[in-house]
């Protein structure tokens, strides 16, 4: 799964400009699914048809988009003003390398003398090394999006860090589930949805869920951990397995679905932990509440330093999420 994750993670996909990522994923998924399409907003929706009677629709969802910056103005001296896309922690991103959708590299820097407490989009600039406005505007157009330019690197054991894990690791898990189920008959229809614009308010998953009308839905996304020094207490750690979501600030997961997932994990001896996230929302909520609603849950990948250029995960947790979901689908209901 690491190779697939690296490949998906390397594609550009700031919210609203996810087409590169969709292209990479579509290529990986074609082999494993029966049909594949892109909807009006850019969501990639791939389907595996089931063979059971009274089959249900299961929607698996991971978002393709990542946080980043949009160029809004080019100064006379060639520095680029930006608008944030998604939730940016400016202290975490100051002086990080960035790269535009056209491949232009640079760094994002605060205006000189700005105190960290005053860090805001208004006093951050991207420096692409341009001499002046003329040179900069040849390479960057207003509206171009910049992403963090940090490839995934392997650390000790099965731990990996770079950008973005949020949520390309979820996308990699979905691809792995499709791979595992390839060639097997499955009972239910399974929709693999790679959604857009999660970071700006879970917009894509809403319209995708409207189209799919799932009975059961599962989101795959990153979650915070409580395992770093002085972290806010949270019973979630890197390497302790798939995190079965019970709640976050946008959703209370279907309790029966939570129990079913725990049962499968116990049966198959797949490592799991339970997740209660105190802040942050996911596509889970939009799938739960769209149309007439669905039984919704999520399998989360514990991640340190979320929304920084160095999000750290343990690949074993991601594998556990994929194994657990694949086994859940095999069982049918």
């Amino acid at each position: 799964m690491l190779d697939i994750f690296k490949k998906i993670s390397a594609a550009h996909g700031v919210s609203g400009a996810e087409s590169d990522t969709a292209g990479v994923i579509a290529e990986l998924m074609t082999e494993y699914t029966d049909d594949i399409r892109i909807d009006n907003l850019g969501n990639l929706i791939a389907c595996r048809h089931g063979v059971g009677e009274n089959r249900k629709k299961i929607m698996l969802c991971a978002h393709m988009d990542e946080i980043g910056f949009m160029a809004t103005f080019i100064e006379k001296n060639g520095f680029i003003r930006i608008a944030p896309i998604g939730g940016i922690n400016y202290t975490a991103v100051a002086l990080t390398r960035v790269r535009s959708e056209r491949g232009v590299r640079g760094i994002i820097a605060p205006e000189a003398k700005t105190k960290p407490a005053d860090f805001r989009a208004e006093n951050f600039l991207i420096d692409i090394g341009a001499k002046d406005e003329k040179e900069a505007s040849r390479r960057v157009k207003i509206g171009d999006c910049f992403r963090f330019d940090n490839d995934q690197i392997k650390l000790l054991g099965s731990r990996v860090c770079g950008h973005p894990a949020d949520d390309r690791i979820g996308c990699a898990v979905l691809v792995d589930i499709a791979r595992q189920l390839h060639g097997e008959d499955i009972k239910d229809d399974v929709y693999f949805v790679f959604s857009v614009q999660e970071e700006v308010g879970c917009r894509g998953s809403k319209t995708a869920a409207f189209a799919v009308e799932p009975d059961i839905s599962l989101a795959f996304d990153v979650t915070a951990t409580g395992d770093t020094p002085s972290a806010t207490p949270m019973a979630c750690e890197l390497g302790r397995g798939a995190a079965i979501k019970i709640k976050d600030s946008s959703v209370i997961c279907d309790p029966t679905l939570v129990d079913e997932l725990i049962e499968v994990a116990k049966d198959k001896k797949i490592k799991y932990q339970l997740e209660v996230l105190l802040y942050g929302g996911t596509d889970t909520s939009s799938m739960q509440m769209t149309g007439a609603g669905s039984r919704a849950g999520a399998l989360s990948i514990p991640t340190r330093y979320i929304h920084s250029a160095n999000e750290m995960i343990d690949m074993a947790d991601a594998q556990a999420c994929a194994d657990l979901a694949a086994e859940y689908i095999r069982r049918g209901e």
Binding site: A17, N40, L41, G143, R203, A208
Partner: protein, 348 residues
């Protein structure tokens, strides 16, 4: 329509009464203007004109009828009206302004008042008076008199003239340009659509944009369009003390096409297509640079299984005040920009 007719139409629509939730007055005028053209009205009060184009992709073009205003929530013993706001209005632009109040029989004039500067203590002078400490004076001397004229739940709006000023009438000043300008453009376009229109068209005059983008939500759900174009006005911030990098757009440089605002990330291919269509037809257009505000596209693009969205806004100074100021040329170019997009629609 001639230039004079277009200005007359905009003036008539802007001066009509129609705060959020009380759009029925301006809606009545729009229905009259539609004349023989067939339309439907949904449960919320949205007006929908369908121009069928068989088998073609559905394009929804919308403008909202409502304007920011006030709602009366209490009448005092002295006969003053306490009020709340409908939509975002800076309290600094309220005090001392004339308003039109929805009465029991017709409209009544009023003025928004607050404690005079003479009676404010040093602390109060330093602070912005909140709207909760202001009241509307309708010239009533008692609760009984005021209650005989109007009642809580009725609304009010700024009472302000429509003025054309500047060299050769280059600028327009009025209340409610947000978004009667979009309504005026829709009415103008209805008589000018190309014969073999490449879209199944829906022109929508929506309600309740200023609070929660509600009207557009239900219309989009009913129409289930492939594309939408939202006609709007946008704040510009082209003031002397705003640095170049924070200015949204420039008056007179044509309508602003948004890349992103607080409610929507616009469809990039649609944006590029619109810019290209404008260039081809020689219509001025600019990119809305600074990210601010939100409009009906926020609810439309997230409707049903997703709608590819575009917003075209006339740059407007002093938005949400009694005196919005726009460039006459920008207004006149809006219809041409929408037409350019529709005419080239096959390539979208």
């Amino acid at each position: 329509m001639t230039r004079e007719e277009k200005l007359q139409l905009l003036s008539e629509l802007c001066l009509e009464f129609g705060p959020t939730g009380s759009e029925r007055y301006v809606a009545k005028v729009i229905k009259e203007k539609l004349g023989d053209i067939e339309y439907t009205v949904d449960r919320l009060g949205n007006i929908i004109v369908h121009i069928p184009g068989e088998g073609a992709p559905k394009l929804m073009v919308s403008a909202h009828m409502d304007e920011v205003g006030f709602i009366i929530n209490e009448i005092t013993d002295d006969g003053y009206l306490k009020f709340d706001t409908l939509g975002g209005i800076d309290p600094r632009v309220m005090c001392g302004k004339y308003v039109t109040v929805e009465g029991k029989e017709g409209f009544i004039p009023g003025v928004i008042a607050a404690k005079a500067i003479h009676h404010q203590n040093a602390d109060e002078r330093k602070k912005v008076t909140p709207h909760k400490s202001m009241y509307i004076d309708i010239g009533a001397t008692s609760r009984e008199e005021a209650e005989s004229l109007t009642e809580p739940g009725n609304s009010a709006t700024f009472d302000s003239e429509f003025v054309i000023f500047g060299e050769d009438g280059a600028f327009i000043k009025s209340k409610a340009i947000d978004d009667r300008i979009g309504c005026a453009v829709l009415l103008d376009l209805l008589g000018r659509l190309p014969k073999n229109c490449p879209f199944d068209l829906y022109f929508c005059f929506t309600v309740r944009e200023e609070i929660g983008l509600s009207g557009a939500r239900t219309v989009a759900h009913a129409i289930d369009p492939d594309f939408c174009i939202v006609l709007e006005s946008t704040a510009v911030a082209d003031l002397p003390d705003v640095p170049e990098s924070r200015r949204v757009a420039k008056l007179g440089d044509g309508c602003a096409i948004s890349l992103r605002d607080n409610a929507t990330i616009y469809d990039r291919d649609f944006v590029n297509f619109a810019l290209e269509a404008a260039k081809k037809k020689g219509v001025a257009a600019q990119i809305k640079k600074y990210v601010s505000g939100g409009n009906d596209a926020g609810s439309i693009h997230r409707s049903v299984d997703g709608v590819r969205a575009l917003a075209i806004s006339v740059p407007s100074r002093y938005i949400h005040s009694p005196a919005n100021v726009i460039s006459t040329a920008d207004y006149l170019s809006m219809s041409e920009l929408v037409l350019a997009i529709i005419e080239n629609g096959k390539e979208l």
